[in-house]
Symmetry: C2
Subunit: 466 residues, 2 copies
């Protein structure tokens, strides 16, 4: 074999004869060369034409292989500047502040909860919506705009939330936010200004959210969580209660009907506010999703939703539907710090919802995630029968309870050794409630082609350690 | 004239025979009908085909007129949903928190400072950049991403800022922000956490920025500003000084070379931080722009820039170039509250800069704004010779100093009566320094076709009142 760029770069090429085989072989060789460090970050790759000639394969084969590796994040490319080995310091996709700082190279399969399959983001449909939106948007929408969010988006969201989540909403109650994190920050600030000192949270949840609340100067009262959701009977004189009624994060249970009623009664009786974090309410698999708690008491509940699970966290778009008395204060807090959201993304999302693209995307994702969940449950039952999947058939993650005495940290560590990123339930505990050892499996994150391997490795890890 | 939709809607149509005349007449009639309230917000307009038939004009004439009025914000349109009268509650374009809540209908010509000509936003080039960026972006860039900003954007900005503004910068010192407001909020938070209690500001500036600083728990020390910029010799034990060295806002002077040196020496001697707000540094008309102060002392200066003036405020994209010791803390503050920026806009801006589109846009805008400034200065000299334009030939606004004894509030009020939005210098004063009566004229904001009329009205107002 003559010396080519490929062999000089240390690519170990075993190319099969058929087109798909050649491409897969080339992909695998390039992937391994990057992962192993033989191709360092920033290294320019030869043009597809040059490499194709070098290897004696069709140019499209190289173009396709490069494209796949760009999609996987191993390579980067820019129109007119060729293709190079990507920086991998910002990978894997990390939920802010809550993901361990593992060596990125080590993580091949990410099963931590909180991130959807971003490789399925509808890029073409989104760009088409952006084009339509920009074709007709008035120039003023590109200036400093209404801090509540652009009117077309608030109208589109009001329509969607009423229809899909049963939210009692008019556009003037909607405030667009840079994701749920900003929504929570704004509410915390407003509550603190109103004299609040303590918020109830669920005893299992996302520490990043708790830090946002304490960052506003508020103390936390964790509520115990059981199979019926948060124990709302323990609510007392807190100024507000932050709940995930549709699908408790991370335990995966739904708030039982009696408690839905109970929390609303508590709010009415004490003047407390319910903050409903409906982060993945669109994704229910076994039956029609329960509507938002907010509709029971629109003047007592601040409803929060997000595009981070249904589309992509990178959009940084979320929304609040607020009781009338809070709209002004939340908007003032948002405006005071100049915390507006991107007009272009707002206009595009409005158009995407209005044209039906959002519903189509949610439907498509729901089918895909449901299949993944079924597959996960089936594989675990078959290959790691000692564990139990609990919680309702919904959302983007499942709680996998380990047998008594098993060590969830050992599972996480063994997973890491095999390139699998996992998180144990302890990472999500406010510390007030003992719990069985468990791992939270975010089954939506890996791109589709990695999912089977990720589940197989998970089963192997569980067989090994539990 | 038979009854048509146009006449029934109360449109007073005097259509000339030539094509352009017909279009202009139709535009004017529709504009007046919306402004006067005869066509209420939300009213659906007939299809262009139907109205063209109705009026006996070419369909393209109607299409063009609708398009123009959509661009001006009077009408709204969505692909497939026709054209209707726009909601105007969020107009005119308002800088956050600093713009009077005038009846939007009253403002026809906006000469308040702070907003570029958003009607000149390069929509087509931006969409093309978005398409190229999304074609190659790894899926992980749509997930939760590096809180410093996406690597391609930090690289592109580092290259651009070094080249165009002489900033001493590497990509790891760049932190992408949601505009300057967020940059200032983050710096205020970090300084407060480090124990700072007081920041020096320029005695004339933007009250919204001062509120962001005081919102972080910091007190303000206003520095006097004269023809040489802020009097940096008055700097004492403040923890930081926020300056606009290239083009003082709003007085329009440049910080003189001796003071540039002085402020850097102050920072080195006291350990203070200089926050350089380079909001419109790209726009200098009489000679090559002075480079960023930051290059004199990169470890003492936090440089802040923004796309709000060069492209559009609605993008909500700005950037910091930080001393090494501050990067970690600023990023931690940004991450703690989940304050990331939109991935799509970040990727698009990176591509836009990398492909040369950003430079082209800045060049084009610079030529246009320079012409406007020359025109404004010439018209004022000719038609209101009692006023003086001071400050350097730069940026998007000019200080128009009124004759002694004139009342700037009367000028603002008379402007409002004639549909002209103006702001007096008093609106931008921290109160510590007396000043001659003056108005700040933001000459970049009106769309090009309104500029002549806006200037003519300004001259008429000044003739009338001063």
């Amino acid at each position: 074999m003559k010396e080519t760029w490929a062999t000089s770069a240390g690519l170990d090429l075993h190319l099969e004869v058929s087109g798909a085989g050649v491409r897969r072989g080339l992909e695998a060789a390039l992937r391994e060369a990057v992962r192993g460090g033989r191709l360092a970050a920033g290294t320019a790759l030869p043009s597809s034409r040059a490499l194709a000639q070098d290897l004696g394969v069709a140019r499209n084969t190289v173009v396709d292989a490069y494209g796949q590796l760009v999609a996987e994040g191993w390579l980067a490319a820019r129109h007119g500047s060729g293709t190079w080995v990507a920086e991998r310091t910002h990978q894997p996709a990390a939920a802010p502040a809550d993901r361990p700082a593992e060596g990125a190279q080590a993580v091949r399969y990410d099963l931590r909860p909180g991130v959807p399959d971003v490789s399925a983001f509808p890029r073409t449909a989104w760009l088409a919506a952006a084009r339509r939106a920009l074709a007709t948007a008035p120039a003023t929408s590109l200036s400093y705009t209404d801090p509540r969010g652009l009117p077309p988006l608030r109208e589109a969201l009001a329509g969607y939330l009423a229809r899909a989540r049963g939210v009692a909403v008019t556009p003037d109650r909607v405030v667009v936010c840079a994701g749920y994190a900003q929504a929570l920050e704004l509410l915390g600030q407003v509550l603190r200004t109103r004299g609040a000192s303590r918020l109830a949270i669920e005893g299992f949840g996302l520490p990043a959210h708790w830090r946002i609340i304490t960052g506003s100067g508020l103390a936390l009262s964790p509520l115990a969580v059981d199979a019926g959701g948060a124990r709302t009977s323990d609510l007392a004189s807190e100024a507000a209660a932050v709940l995930t009624p549709a699908h408790q994060f991370p335990l995966g249970v739904a708030l039982e009907p009696r408690r839905r009623r109970e929390v609303v009664d508590w709010a009415a009786g004490t003047g407390g506010l319910v903050i409903e974090d409906d982060y993945d309410g669109e994704f229910r698999y076994d039956r029609q999703a329960v509507g938002a708690l907010q509709s029971l008491a629109p003047e007592r509940v601040a409803y929060a939703g997000t595009a981070s699970k249904s589309l992509a966290p990178g959009l940084r778009l979320g929304w609040l539907v607020l009781p009338g008395r809070l709209v002004g204060e939340v908007v003032a807090a948002k405006q005071a710090a100049g915390r507006l959201s991107s007009s272009l993304d707002q206009l595009t999302l409005a158009e995407f919802i209005g044209s039906g693209g959002y519903d189509r995307q949610v439907r498509r994702a729901r089918i895909g995630y449901r299949r993944r969940r079924d597959r996960l449950v089936a594989e675990l039952a078959r290959r790691a029968p000692q564990v139990r999947v609990t919680g309702i058939a919904a959302g983007l993650h499942a709680l996998v309870v380990l047998p008594p005495g098993a060590d969830e940290h050992a599972v996480v560590a063994e997973g890491a050794r095999r390139g699998l990123a996992l998180q144990g339930l302890a990472d999500f505990s406010a510390g007030a409630q003992p719990h069985d050892p468990a791992v939270i499996v975010g089954y939506a994150t890996p791109p589709g082609h990695q999912f089977s391997t990720a589940v197989a490795r998970l089963c192997a890890v569980l067989r090994e350690v539990t």
